[in-house]
Symmetry: C2
Subunit: 353 residues, 2 copies
C-alpha cells in the first residue's frame, strides 16, 4: 500500500475523542503469541519465517479478524517507510531495525495491527483513543480468539502462552496507557507519581516504548508482570491506578491556573507563538512546545484549536512523516525547515482566538 | 508638565525617518558648558545651584533657542519620572541619580535638551533621527550661540571651554551615533569592528552611555578626544568611520540572507512570534527580540510593520514608560506582564504579513 494515504491524518486512536482525552492520549493492548511447531524467532530459518508469515496472512484473511487490511513486508520496505510506521505506533523500533522476513498487518483505521516475526511470532496490538482499557482488551481478545483456531498458539497449561522472552510468558499481555502529564512535570511532582507507579509494579516508558526517553511530557504506563496473574487482574491494576494519575495531573493544572496564571498563560502562548512563526525547528523542541499547546487547548486557554489537530501536529512533524510527505529522505536541516513549514501551515488553517 | 503626554509616542528622533535609519538609530551632539563666576558643580552651594538654574531658564526663554519647551526640576521629580526621562535620553543616568537642585529643559519634539547642574553647569544635547552629524552639530552650535551671550561660558584661550572633567575640556563636544548592528553580532565580526573603531580613537558604549552594556545589539559610537582638535575635525572622524560600519553591517546582512536564509528568517519570525504571544517578558529578552524584528523590518522580511513602531516598542517597553503608562510603580513581575501586554497590543494594531 502507499503510505501517502495515511500521512495527512492521524490514526483513529489519535482523534482525541476517547474518554479522558485531555490527559490520556491512548490505550494500547498488546498480546505476544507464538505458533506451535516453529522455533522461536532467533532460531528460525529464513524459509520458516517466510512460511510463518504466509500462514499468519492467510489466517487473518480467512478469519476476517481485521477488516480492510494493509500488509507490509518490512524486509523490502524502505527505511523511510519503516520509520513512518514506527512513528504511527504500527510497528516497534525493533521490528523496523530487524533483519530478515518480517511484516506488519494492520486495519485501515490503524486500531488493530499484527507484527509478524518481531521478538515473538505474533505481536497483536489494539490501540484506542483515550482511556479504554476494557474495550481495547475485548477487541484484542476477539482478535486472539479469531486467530487462535487457525494458528495453534504455543501454550503450556502450567505457564500459559509461551514467549521468546520470559518477561512475557503467561498472558503475553501488555496493557499500556499513554498519558500527557505536563502539569506534573512543571510542578515537579512527576517523580513522586513515578515512585507510586513503581510500587504498583507498573512500568513507565517514553513515547516509543522500552528504552525511549519521555518527550513532550508523554509517558506510557504499563504492566510489568505477565505471569501468575490473570488478564483481568493485570487490567485491574491499571484501571485503579490511571484515574488517580489523571486526578493528580488535573489538580496540578488547577493549581497552576490558580497560583501561576501568568506563568501558565505565558508558557502556553509562547509555545503557540513559536510554532506559528518558526522557520526551522527540531523534533525535540516541537514536542516540548506542542505539549504546552496541548495543555493550553485542554485547559480552555487556546480556543479554535482541537486536540485532533494538535495530535496530528505531534505525529505529522516526525521525521518519517515529513519525509513521506516530501517523497524523499531529507537532511536534518531540511527536516527542521519542513517541520516548521508543516506546523505553520497546519496552524494557519485553525481559526485561533 | 505631565509626562503622560509623551509616553504614547517616541520622540521625533525615534521616528525612523532619518538617513540610514535601517542601521543608524540616531545622531547625538552634546556640548558641555560652564558659566563663568560659579565654581564647578561639586563645589557649588545649594543657593548657587538654584541661582544658576534660574539663569539658564531665563536665558533659554529670552533667546527662544528652544521652542515650546518643557522644564523639569529633578529634585522634586519622582523616581518614576526620572527613570522615564533617562529612557527617552533626555537626561543622563547620573542626573537622574544625583542630588540637589538640578533640572532639564527640553523642546517638545525632544530634539533639543539642556541638562542643568549635571557634571557641568550645562549639557546641551541635540538628537536627530538616523545619521545626521552635520545637521545635529549645526543645531547644537546654534543653541550654543544663542545662549552664550546670555550666560558667559567659562572659556580659556589656551584650553578652550572649561569643563568639570578634563576629558571634556576644549570643545566640550561629544558627537555620538547610535547604531543597530545585529548582523555583525550574529556573524561574530563585531569585535573586529570595535578594534578598528578603537584605532580611530572612537569609543563604543551601550544604549545608555558610559558604563552601560550593549543591549539589543545597539552601540553608541562617539569621539573620545575633545581637546586639541576642532569641532570639524572631531566630526570628520565620525563622518568617515560611520559609513564604513554601516557598510560592514549591510554586507553582513546580505551574507546572512544569502548563506543562512532559513536561519535568518527563523530568527526574525520567532522573535516576532514570541513578542506577539508572550504574557510576561523581561526587558533584556524584549531588547534581544526587538533587535531581530527591527532587522527583519529593515531587510524587508517583515512587512506591515514600520521602524517607528519598532522604535516605539523599544522605548515604550522600558520600566519607566510602563510605570508612567500605568500611573504607578510596578513590581518586576507586574512590569514583565505589563511589558508583554503593551507589546502584544502594539503589534496587534500592525497589519503584519
Amino acid at each position: 500500500m502507499d503510505l501517502h494515504e495515511l500521512v495527512n491524518s492521524p490514526g483513529q486512536w489519535l482523534c482525541g475523542d476517547g474518554p479522558e482525552s485531555g490527559i490520556v492520549i491512548s490505550t494500547r493492548i498488546r498480546l505476544a503469541r507464538n505458533i506451535a511447531g516453529y522455533p522461536f524467532l532467533k532460531r528460525m530459518t529464513g524459509d520458516q519465517r517466510v512460511d510463518l508469515q504466509a500462514r499468519v496472512r492467510k489466517a487473518v484473511d480467512e478469519s476476517a479478524a481485521l477488516k480492510s487490511i494493509a500488509c507490509l513486508n518490512l524486509e523490502t520496505a524502505s527505511h523511510m517507510d519503516r520509520q513512518f510506521l514506527v512513528e504511527r505506533h504500527l510497528i516497534s523500533r525493533e521490528l523496523a531495525a530487524g533483519e530478515g522476513s518480517r511484516a506488519v498487518v494492520f486495519s485501515r483505521s490503524e486500531a488493530e495491527s499484527i507484527m509478524v516475526n518481531e521478538e515473538d511470532h505474533l505481536r497483536m496490538q489494539v490501540l484506542r483513543s483515550g482511556l479504554q482499557l476494557l474495550p481495547a482488551w475485548q477487541q484484542a481478545s476477539l482478535l486472539d480468539d479469531q486467530l487462535e483456531p487457525r494458528l495453534d498458539f504455543a501454550y503450556s497449561s502450567r505457564l500459559g502462552f509461551l514467549t521468546a522472552c520470559p518477561t512475557n510468558v503467561g498472558t503475553g499481555l501488555r496493557a499500556s496507557v499513554m498519558m500527557h502529564l505536563p502539569a506534573l512535570v512543571i510542578t515537579r511532582q512527576i517523580e513522586k507519581v513515578f515512585q507510586a507507579i513503581g510500587r504498583m509494579r507498573l512500568a513507565v516508558r517514553g513515547l516509543y516504548g522500552e528504552g525511549t526517553q519521555a518527550s513532550g511530557d508523554f509517558y506510557q504506563i504499563s504492566n510489568q508482570v505477565t505471569l501468575g496473574k490473570t488478564e483481568d487482574e493485570i487490567l485491574e491494576t491499571l484501571t485503579l491506578t490511571i484515574p488517580r494519575i489523571i486526578d493528580y495531573e488535573r489538580k496540578a493544572r488547577e493549581t497552576l491556573a490558580r497560583e501561576s496564571e501568568v506563568f501558565l498563560e505565558d508558557r502556553i502562548w509562547r509555545a503557540l507563538g513559536i510554532l506559528r512563526h518558526a522557520r526551522q525547528i527540531s523534533s525535540e523542541e516541537t514536542m516540548a512546545l506542542l505539549s504546552a499547546v496541548r495543555m493550553g487547548v485542554n485547559v480552555g486557554r487556546i480556543r479554535g484549536l482541537d486536540v485532533a489537530t494538535v495530535n496530528h501536529l505531534f505525529i505529522g512533524s516526525q521525521p518519517g512523516h515529513l519525509q513521506i510527505r516530501h517523497g524523499r529522505e531529507l537532511s536534518q536541516a531540511d527536516r527542521d525547515a519542513a517541520r516548521a513549514d508543516f506546523i505553520r501551515q497546519t496552524l494557519q488553517a485553525a481559526p485561533l482566538n
